[in-house]
Symmetry: C2
Subunit: 307 residues, 2 copies
Amino acid sequence: MDQITVFSPASVANVGCGYDTFGFAIEGIGDFITICKRSDDQLVIEQSKGAILPNNPKENVASIAVESYLKHINSNAGFSFTITKSFKPGSGLGSSASSAAGAVFGVNHLMGNPLSTRDLLPFVMEGEAFASKSYHADNVAPALMGGFNVVRSYEPLDIFQVPTPNDLRVLIIFPDVEVKTSEAKALLPKTLSIPDARNQWANVAGVISALYSSDYNLLKKSVSDVIAEPVRKKLIPGYEEVKRMMCEHGSVGFNISGSGPSMFSFFRNEQEMESVKPKVQALYQKLGHELMLHTSKINHHGSIIIS
Amino acid sequence: MDQITVFSPASVANVGCGYDTFGFAIEGIGDFITICKRSDDQLVIEQSKGAILPNNPKENVASIAVESYLKHINSNAGFSFTITKSFKPGSGLGSSASSAAGAVFGVNHLMGNPLSTRDLLPFVMEGEAFASKSYHADNVAPALMGGFNVVRSYEPLDIFQVPTPNDLRVLIIFPDVEVKTSEAKALLPKTLSIPDARNQWANVAGVISALYSSDYNLLKKSVSDVIAEPVRKKLIPGYEEVKRMMCEHGSVGFNISGSGPSMFSFFRNEQEMESVKPKVQALYQKLGHELMLHTSKINHHGSIIIS
């Protein structure tokens, strides 16, 4: 087999209290990456659709991640990539993680799967590190493996997954405003008081317990954040109004996705989730921003081969 | 009914990463409190056994907690208390929480249970607050209700429980050295860096997930602490040696209990737990400190009426 097309999903990191720790994959949006084996040893970004991505393989997260993978397995194989994005970079939905995960996952398959999917994580993180200027796994793990992931430790890398209730649904609200990850990072505090940190990890315990026990009341209370939300919400027009709407329409957990501007909102049924959509649309029409609304289950597959 | 005897268990707070948040009850040690209804409206500490406790009802955590309970239910009933402790105050095993929980639980029963056990928490916390000079629930909740408790929020008070694996065992190691809670508190940092705080809540997520999924490998890695252990371990002679012994004998989680000097160690079976006991005994004999070793399951009853 010399050609493959992979789908690698978008993902929601942080999830309120789990800053740099929690991340889950969503269904239906992400990167479609077609990878062709080449006769030479080059990595070539053939084409990008849906977004303007760097053509230079030294600057594209997909090829950077693949280069680090090929070096590890001692291969000088070459590949061409056509990347079709169904959502924009800078959305807060793990765009660079999707590209890096899908590319490495697909190349590993074309190479005959010398590594397990989980063992691809460090190479995918190399691509992500180039994009975000720091070493993160909270979008990378779900884009690669699916599910709800917890990055327990970075050194050594240790990630575990938590089951999620079958009926849990998520609404993604993506107003088309630019929030640079670096800018969103610069706003964050450098330290936390012990009481603030305590509240954050008490809520982390609440989210994990709620996911295991399907306790939506606990989930709703626990999806909150003292670090990023207070400063980053100012970068997202309409944030407080959206939060109030979600609360009024049965959301069981709402916050910023990654570093924004996307937001996520958990629901326990489709009807409540659908009922709030026209109101969010009307709000952003009034505010004069394009809006993408996307509804999804939690994605438990991660990167998959689609042809 | 005019007389009752209650048992209220000892408990382990913090549990490594869950500073001011996690607490579980243990079996077999705690306070036995005999409560007699009086014909007058006085609260009287009749007798204390096993430890010297304040006789003045304005200075005894049991009567302070009961006074706050009686005020809430608008009662001017009087009671006498005989408190028999099977472990010392200042052990790090929630001594004041045991006394306060047992006393309020017993008086509520003698009054015909006008409040549910869970609703007694705020009054028990009044007693605990007098002893520890701050408002804590991490020993109070397990002493009253049993189980593994998470204090999600203090304002409003919100506590939830997490199931624990049936085969989980705990060894309590209590070397007889004095660690004053106030002194142990003063050593703590006032702030945490974001990376340290992140590591702590990632481990909090690990402990909760491990308890739900009986993942002892995850439990062992996650029971760690960046706040209290680094400074408080210096107050506990032999701490590092005990930690190493536990690791070598199959412990699946070890740390300081509360503010010490007691330590707790999780095991997944009796044999490993028993095999380490003689080594700990030999160590403290060499160090010249009295030692109490106690083995237990997680206690799921909390305060109970025994006669």
